[in-house]
């Protein structure tokens, strides 16, 4: 029986701006088990990062956690005082950020920054902390770690900086590492290295990983479970294999269709999700995805569905569910999008040819 180390219950995080109340996280409940790898996916602005920042109580002004509980083992993070929360960050749950270029202090040596992450807590003495820097850097595969620890961040490449960030995150052996888009700022080969590294660290150290990303491929290669978020709420959740094979929420389905694939034939076109994510100050009534949903029914604009079990350990928040959509209807949608795009491309080509003839 897996033991949950983190349980988020009905979390609501809101930003009080001059435009109104932004409901960044709206009633999210989730859990992470010991040693588990969970992916949290969704478009920009769907509340993934804010959920993560809420867990560490790092929500920036003018935002604040309005209600809900965050249980780490048997302690409620939302009730911790300043000193407890400082001790909690890095020690129990650590977070690494999107941009490794700006996440390290440019005027301090890398080794010192990693050491600092340890001396901030009581787990390691000052001497142990110093001694652990090189093994940590080696663990994240920094070559010549004993000398590279003397480097400044600008002397590190992007991938190395992200690895140094991971070393910093792991310095106090937290039980959970939250990685917020850890590969977005890196190029593809380096991404692959970071992915491999995260997987290895999860296996070797048993650190649970919560991976926040919009990259479905990344989720598929690391995670065992995936949580799909939209407009500050969870719309679907389940084991990775199941979600990828049988997505039930139209949003998940569309997300998966919008990922380019190397193995696909040249004829097939990418499907994009029409429209934009909703304004979090004025959310639409009913299902928050219905204005962009191709399969909506009347009810979708009136009632908001709740998360219902739709399969083995799989839940989705939808009145329709993809399994009830006839295959042909889904195919047709792809065909329509494809023909539109094909027409545009043809037009572009003919314009180019005309331009070439003219010159």
């Amino acid at each position: 029986m897996p033991v949950p180390i983190l349980r988020v219950e009905d979390l609501k995080t809101q930003f009080f701006t001059s435009r109104g109340v932004v409901q960044a996280v709206d009633g999210v409940s989730l859990h992470v088990n010991e040693g588990e790898t969970v992916g949290v996916v969704g478009e920009s602005g769907c509340g993934k990062t804010m959920t993560a920042l809420s867990i560490l109580r790092l929500v920036p002004e003018p935002g604040r956690i309005v209600s809900g509980h965050i249980w780490f083992r048997d302690r409620d993070v939302t009730k911790m005082d300043v000193e407890q929360i400082r001790e909690f960050r890095g020690n129990d749950v650590a977070m690494i950020f999107q941009d490794p270029m700006t996440s390290l202090n440019p005027v301090t040596r890398v080794g010192i920054q990693i050491e600092e992450a340890m001396t901030a807590h009581e787990r390691f003495s000052a001497r142990d902390a110093l001694g652990r820097v090189v093994p940590l850097l080696q663990r994240v595969r920094i070559p010549a770690a004993d000398r590279r620890k003397e480097d400044y961040p600008h002397q590190f490449s992007g991938g190395m900086r992200q690895r140094a960030m991971i070393a910093m995150g792991l310095a106090n052996e937290p039980s959970l590492l939250i990685a917020d888009e850890p590969t977005t700022a890196l190029d593809v080969t380096v991404q692959a290295q970071i992915v491999t590294l995260l997987k290895q660290l999860n296996r070797e150290l048993g650190t649970a990983i919560m991976l926040i990303t919009h990259n479905m491929a990344l989720v598929a290669s690391i995670c065992t479970r995936v949580i799909v978020m939209y407009a500050g709420r969870i719309v679907e959740e389940g084991p990775v294999g199941q979600i990828f094979k049988n997505p039930q929420h139209p949003y998940t389905w569309s997300l998966l269709r919008s990922v380019p694939r190397v193995d696909e034939t040249r004829r097939s076109r990418l499907v994009s999700i029409t429209g934009l994510p909703p304004d979090l100050v004025r959310l639409p009534p009913g299902c928050k995805f219905h204005p962009r949903c191709a399969f909506r029914v009347d009810r979708c604009s009136e009632d908001e569905p709740s998360l219902e079990e739709v399969g083995d350990r799989q839940v989705a928040r939808c009145w329709v569910l993809m399994r009830n959509v006839p295959q042909e209807a889904a195919k047709e949608l792809e065909a329509v999008t494809i023909s539109q795009e094909a027409a545009q491309e043809l037009k572009a080509v003919s314009e180019l040819e005309e331009a070439a003839d003219g010159s």
Binding site: L56, L58, E61, R86, E87, F88, R89, G90, N91, A94, M95, I96, F97, Q98, D99, T102, S103, L104, N105, P106, V107, T108, E116, A117, A120, H121, R141, P143, A144, R147, R148, E150, D151, Y152, Q155, M165, M168, G169, A171, N172, T183, V188, T189, Q191, A192, Q193, V195, T196, L197, K199, N215, A217, L218, S221, V259, P260, R261, V262
Partner: protein, 304 residues
């Protein structure tokens, strides 16, 4: 977004992959050294400092003359072998007085910066880091302070304390810390939003550590430049005060006092105004060049 594939081994780098170790300040020094004007300024400043430090010893050794001793019979003499830069209206050796004057000017110029850092730096740091109401309160206080006309303010303060080196030094410091407070606050405001500060928070660093390790070192560059530019400004202010007569009191030689003395006999011997004037100009220019050089050297966009 393409599909990331698990990669091959990560450990294929060798020793020659490790670039030369260059620290931030080593790098800054390298770029500073390439700026000829700045280096020239630095050399002159070093000479001035040496001269100010050694002036007393040089008098004892008899290499230069006593700056206070009067020789009325040779007053307003032109440059000669005995008095390289001539004498003033009381027959005192101008070269010697200039060298002693450097003591006053440099010590005021540099020490006043310490007061700026103490008052302005602290207020700016607290305002920027605390933000919100504290920031508002401190910055409005700063604005009010700024609204007083500086020269008048210094004049009032100096006359209250009675003119002396210490009172001038304190008065200039108390009046002019405002710019530094604003600069530091601005720096801190922008740095505290940087991701590395957030990631320091995310690993559980304490507030004090974040301020001392992350905010202060990253704000240092622009602060250093401003302080360097502040030195000539303070020197100039001291000269102005001494010229008006509320600064350094005669017979102690200061460049401002010397201009005032020379002014009394400007038609008889214009050189006696020109020499201290030139000294002030050279000193100010040197510090300005150093400031320029530092600013360029600290600017990452100048990195080549």
């Amino acid at each position: 977004m393409a599909v990331p594939m698990p990669s091959a081994s990560l450990e294929l780098q060798h020793d020659w992959d490790v670039p030369e170790q260059v620290g931030l300040w080593t790098d800054v020094w390298r770029r500073f050294r390439r700026n000829r004007l700045a280096v020239g300024g630095a050399v002159i400043v070093v000479i001035l400092i040496l001269d100010a430090a050694l002036a007393g010893v040089l008098v004892q050794l008899g290499i230069i003359q006593d700056p206070i001793k009067q020789h009325v019979e040779t007053s307003l003499a032109g440059p000669s072998a005995q008095h390289l830069l001539g004498t003033d209206y009381l027959g005192r050796d101008t070269l010697s007085r200039l060298m002693f004057g450097a003591r006053i000017s440099l010590s005021i110029g540099i020490l006043v910066q310490g007061i700026y850092v103490l008052i302005g730096g602290t207020i700016g740091l607290i305002a920027g880091y605390a933000g919100g109401r504290v920031d508002n309160l401190l910055m409005r206080f700063t604005d009010i302070w700024y609204a007083f006309p500086d020269l008048l303010f210094v004049l009032v303060l100096v006359s209250v304390f009675s003119p002396s080196l210490l009172s001038i030094f304190v008065a200039i410091g108390i009046v002019n810390w405002v710019n530094l407070a604003r600069l530091v606050r601005g720096q801190v405001l922008s740095i505290k939003e940087k991701e590395f500060v957030e990631s320091a928070r995310a690993v559980g660093s304490s507030q004090i550590k974040i301020v001392l390790r992350h905010l202060v070192p990253n704000a240092l560059g622009p602060v250093l430049v401003t302080l360097t530019f502040g030195i000539p400004a303070a020197i100039f202010l001291e000269a102005a005060l001494s010229y008006i007569g509320v600064g350094i009191q005669p017979p102690t030689p200061s460049w401002g006092v010397m201009i005032q003395d020379g002014y009394q006999a400007i038609y008889a011997s214009p050189l006696q105004v020109a020499f201290p004037g030139i000294a002030i100009a050279i000193t100010m220019l040197s510090f300005t060049f150093i400031g320029d050089g530092l600013r360029d050297a600290l600017d990452p966009r100048m990195r080549r």
